[in-house]
Symmetry: C2
Subunit: 294 residues, 2 copies
Amino acid sequence: MNCGDDIVLGGLHISPDLDTVIYCLAGELDPESGWGLRNESWHALETLRRLGGQSWFALGDRDLGTHLYRTQRLAEGAPLSVVTAELGTRWGAEVRLLPVTDDRLRTRLTIDPPAEGAAGAAETEVSFQEYFVKLRHAVAVRSVRFVGAERARPAPGVLRAVSAAGAVVIAPSNPIVSIGPILAVPEVRRAVTQRREHTVAISPIVAGAALRGPAGRLMAELGHEASVVGVARLYAPVASALVVHSEDAPLAAAVEAEGMRCIVTPAIMHTPDDAAALARATLAAAGLQTPPSQ
Amino acid sequence: MNCGDDIVLGGLHISPDLDTVIYCLAGELDPESGWGLRNESWHALETLRRLGGQSWFALGDRDLGTHLYRTQRLAEGAPLSVVTAELGTRWGAEVRLLPVTDDRLRTRLTIDPPAEGAAGAAETEVSFQEYFVKLRHAVAVRSVRFVGAERARPAPGVLRAVSAAGAVVIAPSNPIVSIGPILAVPEVRRAVTQRREHTVAISPIVAGAALRGPAGRLMAELGHEASVVGVARLYAPVASALVVHSEDAPLAAAVEAEGMRCIVTPAIMHTPDDAAALARATLAAAGLQTPPSQ
């Protein structure tokens, strides 16, 4: 999993991607927003805002318990992968969650100066959370880099998980800033590439745009085509198949021209049944048998 | 004010003494416990406890807003004195609050190993909060030191506040661990000593014991007499008068033998009127006229 989004805010080590997955798998994710905890209270953040502090990052009261726990354990010397496993277990997420690395890896984006910036202000580099939350990804991105990725070692268990898996699935997440940091760790990219025949990606782009978030805009700004074909170009080195939504059937041949098999299937997940059907289609594309629909 | 109690917990910079005074002067102190905020909620701490984190230090949700603010501002490079002034203003404490220093100063206590420690465990050194909160001051203290005090410079305004004040009042706080860190900063001790004639201390010891907290026990363990006479010996170098409670009238001569004037007056503050009367007696002892009782 991606930990390039991690940020230290007010002294707390926050891992937004890891937390969202933990809360989701534990059944604690807020269904309205898609992040944070359900039934959350906001007393700490309201106080911080009233005091004039930086309150652009939403810190719920119960969520703060997670951040305090992680920060304490990291300060004690526990690696992020160990802390993530502890948090997963204690929140009740019954799946093994592995951050790509225990080393420091940070996604940094060079952006055009915000409109309200001083005239003539130079381009500036920000963290992922500043881009995504503080600036609401309403700025043009010129480049992205993953600081520390070249030297990062895979967290314990990551390489084995990739090599031993029946299939490796690249979720329909942002290829640049969510999957990118994972594949930027050289040994991980190599391990996934070695499993290319059993690696399937699901396109986050449907009919030329991301279903949510800035993936489409970001791909275009960085010189990629914001289409399933652009996605195929990014993933062809590491995955042998791309799952695309039915609407993109006309582009299947162009995807295959990039060197990937193209699986056309309903790929928009409105309901758990949609998600289950997509998972079955994806695993079948990787050559795995799956139990029939319930 | 004392900042030797400060602690970093889960990444957050916490200044318990400063916060208690700010909350008290802002009318926000919890009247039951005497610390923390009134009408506090505890969602973050309950979550941290449930996750198995270190939860011995009580972090209320709104209180976390204060700690997040302080930690953010310190990380931005603001000195503790500036942050304290900001917090005082924003919480509504209408008095100028000055930490003794912006430099790092930490109270450390060498204690006997706790009873549950391994047999033969050596004595151990802990922070003030570990001693006071985690161990509930139920351990024997062998020595106290103020790490960083010798090199600490007074925070901006501290020396001027002492030199310009009509009177310097040493509150009935713990002489060793609450007043001690302040007077351990050499320039501050020198400045108070120069104002000795206008410096008055109020004894925290009444009839041989502290009204609350471990001051009596701590004085005895460190070789001081746990009485107003023991307090007089500690304060005689810096203060010219000691206010003692009526019950200690028989010891007035012994206090004066230590070189301090002894003011005998009701010194237990049950009500705001008690506190006002004590303040008037104290300022009168420093040679200040005060307005008559309302």
